[in-house]
Symmetry: C2
Subunit: 372 residues, 2 copies
């Protein structure tokens, strides 16, 4: 039976960078989703098709069974053999190698358990920009784990809390192959949806986050999270007395935002006053992020352009390029939105109108081929 699942990306709403210093951050699901369409086959092969990575690859089930037959206690050995198998194909490198390795790892770990030949075709589609700090790999990993676990009847199609725990834990294994030492934030958000607070390695789902409409704007400027984090650390070391209260201000801002979410969920979600308060926090945090030096002229430009239309934006994630988001308030006129999108596009930015705080992994009825 065909299996179709989708999972969201994530955006950091507040607390990027200060989280490195033990402060809280809030991440929310981003309704730009990845989709996996798993089709059982009889050709003795496992095939993957990832159009967004221009990747089409297949492997013989028999080869994979050999790896699966290895002692489960030797995951390093399994991984080594997977990488050898992937690297046989000299066309593969970078994100393609990672995607194949993740897939094969999860396939062998989940489907190999039952020692059954599971010939299948897997198609992955995604609305998420890749490598933009929006959790595209976690979204992929969650879709993959869910589809394979469903295929093996290891979870029910109700996707209960228990099922999701299993999905989260398998997707985290997948993420480890891509990211080495992932925080677990991205796959938690992709699994459960809504929003989470994370602080000092602990992930706490937030109840009752309001569904917020945003415009996600990508600068297309590549950035290195590692370099940006190192630059902030350098400033922190050199200007400790200035940076300490700035990070403290970011922490308080995150806490205030969480309080506001609680208030919005328990009252009138669309109350204009609450949106004004959310916008004020977005502006303040953007300026605090500029203070610690992680903005970028293109990110500043997005903020300036949207400001002209009365909209408020901040960078999200590591900064120094990557993406910003703009809050779209309930009373925003469509023509205003169209104008701002037009101006942003004219400046070379990519715009995605979407929601945050929406569902985590979902079983879909429509094949993604229809959407893409």
């Amino acid at each position: 039976m065909d299996i179709i699942v989708s999972a969201p990306g994530k955006v950091i709403l507040h607390g990027e960078h200060s989280v490195v210093y033990g402060k809280p951050a809030i991440a929310a699901s981003l309704n730009l989703r990845s989709y996996i369409h798993l089709t059982p086959t009889n050709d003795g092969k496992v095939s993957v098709n990832l159009p967004s990575l221009h990747l089409k690859q297949s492997w013989e089930i028999t080869d994979l069974e050999k790896i699966a037959a290895l002692n489960n206690d030797s995951p390093d050995e399994v991984m080594k053999m997977i990488i050898e198998l992937v690297e046989k194909n000299s066309d593969l490198h970078g994100s393609k190698t990672q995607a194949c390795s993740t897939f094969l790892y999860l396939y062998i770990a989940i489907c190999g358990r039952n020692r059954m030949s599971s010939s299948m075709k897997i198609q992955l589609y995604s609305k998420l920009p890749i490598g933009a700090g929006l959790g595209s790999s976690a979204s992929f990993s969650v879709c993959l784990a869910t589809a394979l676990l469903l295929n093996q009847n290891m979870i029910s199609d109700e996707l209960t809390v228990e099922d999701r725990k299993l999905i989260e834990s398998w997707s985290f294994q997948g993420e480890r192959i891509i990211h080495g030492n992932p925080s677990g934030i991205d796959n938690a958000v992709a699994t459960y949806g809504g929003a989470i607070r994370f602080q000092s390695g602990e992930i706490l789902p937030l109840q009752n986050i309001p569904k917020l409409r945003i415009l996600l704007v990508s600068t297309g400027v590549p950035r290195s999270t590692k370099t940006l984090v190192a630059n902030v650390r350098d400033k922190y070391n050199r200007l400790h007395n200035i940076m300490t209260p700035v990070l403290e201000a970011m922490a308080s801002l995150t806490v205030e935002c969480e309080k506001l979410f609680v208030k919005m969920s328990s009252g009138d979600e669309s109350c204009t006053l609450n949106f004004t308060a959310l916008e004020e926090m977005i502006d303040m945090n953007q300026h605090l992020l500029q203070t610690i030096g992680v903005s970028h002229p293109e990110l500043d430009k997005i903020c300036d352009i949207t400001k002209k239309y009365g909209l408020h934006s901040k960078l999200t994630g590591a900064g120094g390029g990557g993406c910003a988001f703009t809050l779209l308030t309930p009373n925003l006129k469509e023509e205003t939105l169209n104008s701002v999108i037009q101006e942003l596009k004219a400046e070379g930015f990519h715009c995605f109108e979407t929601d945050v705080g929406t569902s985590g992994v979902l079983i879909e009825t429509e094949p993604p081929e229809k959407i893409f």
Copy 2:
């Protein structure tokens, strides 16, 4: 004998707004100077000419002597009569009334003391934009007090520390007429030059401030200091936990800047590293000021334009319009400076290339008529 004196304006380098919350601020002299040319006459009149206020006015010495003859213990009565005298001329209002009242107050207080008829012509010129938060009235008041005290031989033309104390205290009296409740910062800077730290009402002259070259850029946007201070207070009350550390960061930044000044003065003043550190602080404080909501699109534009040329700017004073300054480093090329000035002018800004941290009140040899 003709007397020609000049006094500088002031800029706040760091600590505007946070100073309202008991944090330290640094103000420095701005080498855009006001000049007074005092010429003794025999026409039995006291005449003032302030071209920048389009103000030409004269009074009969006999009228002024009547006021001066009043008991010195009744300053309120003296002030009342001065205002009556000024308001006789229905053309005068606003800053003209204030300038005339200040002049007459200081004339009567200083020259009236000796009960001698001092017929004179006073000409005031100023390079300082008026009402832009650059201490133009204090600069005027210091020039006036100095010229009158010199005219009455109450101070020596060496302008010793004792002389300057007298100038400062008289100019403060003059400032009170214009500003009601002045902080004393502006006339301290105009009297002593260099830079001062001020905190919770205390003014401390800073030794060894490096002479810094700046571009002062005026937006021409009028602003109300009172409204801006009130807006920050509102944010402070609403978002206390965020604003408290932001103001703390501003305080630390001011302290670090003072430390850097000490370091620059004791070492190589032109060291590039020190200028890089000064620039970093300028950027950080501009962003902190944006965080508390006191910038303005025109101020942001100045920062953006100068940034394109590798220069760093911040607003100075209350913000919300008014002026910004741009640090000009020793290795800046003249052609770069010319280009940035050209672009700023094309955007409608007024640019003043000048120095900060220079001399306080000075006795000049050249008549200002030659300069203006």
